[in-house]
Amino acid sequence: MKKIFFLSALCMLGILSSCRNDEPTVPSTNTPVTDGNPSTPGFYVLNEGQMGSNNSTLDFFDASTGIYSADIYAERNPTVIKELGDTGNDLKVYNGRLYAVMNGSHKVEIMTADSAKHIAEVDIPNGRYICFDGETAYVSSYVGASYGEGDIKGAVYRFNTKTLSVIDSVVVGYQPEELAIANGKLYVANSGGYRYNSGYDNTVSVIDLATFQKIKDITVDINLHRVKADNKDNLYVSSRGNYMDIAANLYVIDAQSDNVIDTLNIGATDICIVGDTAYTYSSEWSNETFGYTYTYHTIDLNTREVAEAQFITDGTTLVATYGMAVDPKTRQIYFTDAGDYVNSGSVYCFSPAGKLQWKADAGVSPGHIAFTE
């Protein structure tokens, strides 16, 4: 009897034990989505993933072959422990390198721009957005140097892209978001997004690049998010409103006088500046339909004239538009769709006439596109 017990137990063990294998590096999925066109640039897509899930991923669209490769980071950098990391929040290509701000992993990941090979990482806590000037990179962060109970202000950290060492940081407003450079100064949009009850932040902090000191705060509107510089020393700054009675808006700051010189009266979830045109889209959640409504605009940067636009004309519908990019050469428009924000999203390519060219499966919450140079 003992034998039978023993045997059956062993048998069960044997059957079950065969199931666990060595954990393999997750391979990329490569899907041809369109015909190759060597004259247009390819791009990387940063999928934010879910906070605390370590599932931020990187995709690459190779324009010359028309192949969309999802989740390439682990395959190209199999030795990096715990892969790309948690909650990517910004992606830029600068001087032959690809920079990903990994908010949840508290670092900036630096890769080669041509093959997304890991070069180094720079520890920056709670990073949000990145921009560059010469050899220096500037990263906005929700946490500043001072720390303790109560509200804390955010900061801008700077590091040297050659030595890859953090030089220092300067305290700005609450929960700073995007930053941009114009007229030798750095402009940071402060949101105060965690302080929605005590009032959002409503300022753009201005930092002198030469001294790396904050010069002033420009009062604009509550809950600021985007700031983009054109080539005329003007900055386009978006406010998200309070999602209730105060609507989203878009403002123009003159980098010479540091005054707000224009109010454009449109919402702008994202802004892409190409040549003399700014492309914007705005998404607004409705508690009645439990869905988003989208509006699209173009802005003539010479006249600051706003025109309503149709970036999608063929009836294609996205579940939750999460990011936008405009190809500087072809003026094709790319939208990312986050779907339910928990599972994989998609990337859509539209012709300048608004017709769907192709669509590809991306990672979780695709939100940021960076073109190869």
Partner: protein
């Protein structure tokens, strides 16, 4: 807006007053039949006793772990033991301090009721009962019921769950003329565990006993974990070992009670206090190996119960409880936003259940419960919600020969108040249930059983009111369950086999209006919605046998669970029809033990098949199966007539490194030694 609130409040109050009146009336009505009982002659009385004793069982017997089997497990908490039940998944965030919640038949942990000594443990704030906080030290029995406990004399709340776990603490028992029992236990081992406890039971009078139990737990929570990836050619991509940080626990549990047994009924009165500080170890992410979150818990409850004696035509069961739960959460990590919040929850509960024995084959019962919940939190813009719940359940039970049927209908009436804004609308919900058990053969204990039940869970206070996330228009989340099963039990005196038992159940569950978080904007704007639909097709199998081989008693228990739990929320979703997160298709456990003289040896094995960490069943979301083997050896002996027991255990014998929840690594091989002295 303000006027409406006041009007609503008035209405609520009127409803409550009416119910309290009703409740008192029903309590009072119980007195008369008690007196009438005494006229029954002794013979009738005797007959009735046997019948009642038989009927006391639930229509469908639960899965149970009790007595020696439970103590042999050498587990530290209820969560460790619960893994040996079929149909159950444990969400385990790892280590001694990590949260552990139970999910019965894939319907979600919020659909599961956990009862401690007959009264449900509440958490109106988030609906989570962390089973890791409940020590096995003083527990006598853990029972799991699918659907509900199909007994008839029980509070209305017991009819309201989709599945329930009943924890029963030890009641004092005295051998012969002994006036007291004193038990001292000391456990120690891996994770820096030091865990002393004392149990003191005293006979106060012929009718009253008391029990006092204290337990202290200290653990550093440190353990090694390993993450490894391989390249397609089999060579190592990375292989890293680190030590789990910030998983320390320090906890004190005090529990005491009085137990009375008189001719006119049995009563208990007890108090429970738990005070703990713990680190929240958090997920292991790229570049993040330590988090700075900490939590303080203080749980206090006192409860009482009175039950009229068995065998009477009319019986009454009264329960009352007051609970106060304090939670302090601190995120003190220079890399994150600073958060420091305090939550205080209170619950008041009163229940009266009446049973009327109409004929030997027919019983009816009526249960009325009142419950009050309040949550206080220092969040901005917090609404301070209060919830009043009235529950009325009618149940009836028939027993013709070998057929046993129970039907019940529970009405739940909920009103809420908030100090700010408008509260969630009133809810009136009805939960019907039908349980059938048939023994086709007179000579054999073969049982065919089936049940169907519709139940719901209320959205939690967090779901409804959490600043900026809550959605007060949320509806309850519903479950419908169909179950059919068979069980066969045989025991032999004097034979090689002592007992043999086999059970099998097939079921189909549907969860509708599943409450899920859905993002409603770009930043911090998630909201709770009634969006999901899940269908679960499953089967639970269990085999149990004991045998006597020479002087060795051998026991073997095997459990197997198959669950196809699919998401059918929206055909347009990429994951339509996919297996829901963290539910394995196959899972099971094996337990084998041998007892020889004073020695006992136990081997246990737990298997959980592959799962997905997200709704989409893709390779990136796939989690490897895991299986662990635990071994324990114990011996009883006596020193100068003092009974002692020593045991040693090795858990995760083969040092498997696995995650139950993605990015929350579990411990490898670990050890524990236990010494018990009984005076």
């Amino acid at each position: 807006m303000r006027t409406t609130t006041i009007l609503d409040m008035k209405k609520t109050r009127r409803v409550n007053l009416w119910l309290i009146g009703q409740f008192l009336f029903l309590c009072g009505a119980g007195v008369a039949p008690v007196a009438a009982q005494n006229r029954l002659d002794s013979l009738q009385h005797l007959q009735e006793l046997t019948v009642t004793a038989h009927r006391k069982e639930a229509v469908i017997a639960p899965q149970k772990l009790s007595g020696e089997t439970l103590s042999r497990l050498n587990s530290l908490s209820v969560a460790d033991a619960i893994r040996f039940f079929s149909g159950v998944q444990l969400k385990d965030y790892g280590g001694i301090g990590g949260i552990k919640t139970i999910n019965i038949r894939s319907m979600g942990s919020n659909q599961t009721g956990v009862f401690y000594d007959g009264i449900q443990l509440g958490n109106a704030q988030n609906g989570q009962i962390d089973l890791g906080k409940f020590s096995l030290d003083n527990l006598e029995e853990i029972a799991i019921y699918n659907g509900q406990k199909s007994e008839i004399l029980q509070p209305a709340r017991d009819y309201g769950t989709s599945g329930s776990v009943y924890l029963r603490s030890r009641r004092p028992r005295f051998d012969g003329a002994k006036k007291y029992n004193l038990r001292l236990t000391l456990k120690g081992g891996s994770f820096g565990l030091v865990n002393p406890s004392v149990l003191w039971e005293q006979k106060i009078s012929r009718q009253v006993n008391s029990s006092f139990n204290a337990e202290y737990t200290h653990a550093t929570g440190r353990y090694k974990f390993r993450y490894r990836r391989v390249l397609p050619d089999g060579s190592t991509a990375y292989d890293t070992t680190a030590v789990r940080q910030n998983g320390d626990v320090e906890a004190l549990r005090l529990e005491g009670g009085f137990f009375g047994s008189t001719d006119r009924g049995d009563w208990t009165a007890k108090a429970y206090f738990y005070n703990a500080e713990r680190g929240i170890p958090g997920p292991i992410l790229n570049n993040v190996w330590r988090h700075g979150e900490r939590q303080w818990d203080r749980n206090f409850f006192t409860q009482g119960s009175w039950q009229s004696p068995a065998g009477k035509r009319y019986r009454l069961l009264v329960n009352a409880k007051y609970a106060y739960d304090y939670t302090e959460y601190l995120r003190d990590d220079p890399r994150e936003m600073y958060i420091h919040n305090h939550y205080r929850q209170q619950e008041g509960y009163l229940s009266a259940a009446h049973l009327l024995h109409l004929f030997p084959w027919w019983e009816v019962s009526l249960s009325t419960d009142l419950q009050w919940n309040y949550l206080d939190a220092d969040l901005n813009d917090f609404v301070y919600p209060t919830r009043y719940t009235e529950m009325i359940a009618v149940a009836t039970s028939f027993q013709w020969k070998r057929l046993h049927i129970q039907g019940s209908l529970l009405g739940t009436f909920i009103q809420e108040q908030t100090r700010l804004y408008n509260p969630s609308p009133h809810r009136d919900e009805y939960s019907p249930a039908l349980f059938v058990n048939y023994r086709p053969l007179a000579q054999h204990d073969l049982q065919l059983r089936a049940f169907c039940k519709r139940a719901f869970r209320m959205p939690t206070f967090n779901d409804l009111y959490y600043t900026d996330i809550g959605n007060k228009y949320l509806k309850p989340e519903f479950t419908v369950q169909y179950d059919g099963g068979i069980s066969y039990r045989k025991s032999w005196e004097q034979a090689f086999f002592n007992t043999f038992e086999i059970t099998g159940d097939g079921y189909y569950n549907i969860v509708t209006d599943k409450i899920i978080a859905y993002p409603t904007g770009r930043q911090f704007r998630w909201s709770m919605l009634n969006l999901g639909r899940v269908e679960i097709r499953g089967c639970d199998l269990s085999v149990q046998t004991t045998a006597l081989v020479g002087k060795v008693t051998i026991g073997l228990q095997g459990k197997y669970t198959y669950q196809k739990a699919q998401d059918f929320t929206d055909p347009d979703y990429k994951y339509y029809g996919d297996q829901i997160p963290y539910i394995p298709l196959h899972s099971g456990s094996v337990m084998a033990w041998g007892i020889w003289k004073a020695w006992s040896l136990q081997y246990s094995f737990i298997y959980t098949g592959e799962r997905y960490s997200n709704s989409e069943n893709t390779a990136a979301n796939r989690l490897q199966p895991w299986y662990t083997s635990d071994l324990s050896l114990s011996r009883t002996f006596s020193i100068k007539k003092i009974a002692c027991k020593a045991s040693a255990e090795v858990n995760n014998l083969f040092n498997q490194h696995y995650d139950v929840i993605a990015n929350y690594p579990m411990p490898g091989t670990n050890f524990k030694i236990t010494l018990t002295i009984q005076l």
